[in-house]
């Protein structure tokens, strides 16, 4: 019998305790913010969309090697000996034309593994998080600064330069032995 009334008492008591708590929360200010009008302010180490500052990029391919999902594609063409490609911000001389630098943000997992190995710190994460698209291929961002014709022109120069070098080597190999010594210095 005692246990019977004990059940009733404990049921009612705990229910009233619970109700007291929820009623107290009626007057606690709510924590939700109205998103589109009130934007949450994000900390400065926020990891959202990547940004590549192309004039610092020397095309060393470190970031695409570090990426676990390999969503960074870089294509570089060697510059001809005479060309000057300018310096990066910390003074390193650039040697490669970056003819193609795309990051596929549909595949990127925002793990920041690419930011650390970059020697010139040209790839870093911004706090932009509203970049959704309708088509998936729209999420492939191309960061290379050369226009398509320039890229093609760079590739042609390289191909022409290689072809010349090939021809010289062929010519040098076909002539008799003494010629070899003379060719060496000129080729650099």
């Amino acid at each position: 019998m005692k246990e019977y009334f004990g059940n009733i008492y404990s049921a009612l008591a705990t229910i009233f305790i619970g109700m007291k708590i929820t009623f107290k929360h009626m007057f606690v200010p709510s924590v939700t913010i109205q998103y589109p009008e009130v934007k949450p302010q994000l900390p400065e180490r926020e990891r959202n969309r990547l940004y590549v500052n192309m004039d610092d990029c020397i095309g060393c391919d470190q970031c695409s090697r570090a990426c676990p999902v390999s969503c960074i594609e870089i294509e570089t063409t060697k510059s001809l000996p005479g060309e000057d490609l300018g310096k990066t911000s910390n003074g390193k001389k650039k040697a490669l034309w970056v003819t193609n630098f795309t990051i596929d943000f549909a595949k990127c997992c925002y793990c920041q593994l690419c930011v650390f190995p970059c020697p010139t710190e040209c790839i870093y994460m911004t706090d932009v998080y509203e970049f959704s698209e309708w088509e998936r291929n729209k999420l492939v961002y191309d960061f290379a600064t050369l226009t398509p014709e320039e890229r093609q022109q760079k590739r042609d120069n390289l191909a022409k330069f290689n072809a010349e070098k090939e021809a010289e080597k062929l010519k040098a190999a076909s002539e008799p032995k003494p010629e070899i010594k003379k060719d060496q210095p000129e080729e650099k």
Binding site: I15, G18, M19, T22, M26, S30, V31, T32
Partner: protein, 361 residues
Amino acid sequence: MMYDFLVDLFGNSTAASIIAGTIQSILPLFAFILPFALFAVYLERKVSAHMQDRLGPMRTGWHGWKQTIADILKLIQKEDIVAKDNDKLLFNLAPIIVFAGSYAAFAAIPFTSIFIGTEVDLGIFYIIAVTGIVVAGILMAGWASNNKYSLLGSMRSVAQIISYEIPTILVALSLVMISGSMSLHTLSEQQTGYAWNWYIFGGPGTELSKFLLIPFMFTGFLIIYISTLAEVNRTPFDIPEAESELVSGYHTEYSGMKFAMFFLAEYANMFAVSAIVVALFLGGYQSPVGYLGDLFNAPWLIPIEQFTWFTIKGIFFVFVQMWLRWTLPRLRVDQLMAASWKYLIPIAFVNLIIIGLITLL
């Protein structure tokens, strides 16, 4: 009152009386239930939001007051899916019956002293009988949607409503025993005067029996409130649409306007049930502190005041139902049955007997 006015308006023939009767019974629906249901849905969203440190709807209108209208419009234009192998007739009939059951109960509820849907002498008896129809509607819904979950859900809710009607009847019986009449109208009339004349404080009069009654009337009030909660499927007894197991019980298959009917029926039922509790125990439309109408002797003011007092009390109890919903977890089916058969019914019987003895004094 309304009825005679309408009858001579339409020329006193039998046809007139039929038309007058129907108009009079339809009037409370459009005048009260629809706006109340809209308001109750909005109230539930806001109450649950603020209890959980959220804001609730804020987009539609200032603090989202147009949200329920938006819901109704959405539900209206939603496609009304009837699955191929559903039992068509029962599937369409079920929401109508469920809504009819809860709406019919409004006919006998005394909103003010002069206006009452239909003057029914067997007020309480009629209401309990009519809310019984809802059970048939739920069973039809469960069976017709031809899905395992709905069938389980509807069987459970039928068992629940039936086993919780008994304590409601017992407590209503004890009250009828004291007041002598079944009609809610006379019940409310007897609780005139200030708040301590209400039945929860032992009813009118000042003899010893009034004070003896107080503890038992209070337990009677608790029992009827808990069991009406179960009849309306509100937490902690909302097993039929227990999201976690049966994915929302008997109205899983419904969509569009039929779902709106179930939804509306639930909120109308909520008010009907709390109106009964208010009429029985808290002096129906009597005001606890006397009427302004008497002060400025403007008799036409009294019914309006009575109506406001009645709705305030009703809405307070609807708020308490919501308050319970967002505080308590849900009972399992067998615990729910145990609560009714092992706890509520025996205590209601004992209560009934003691009240009977006291009234004999």
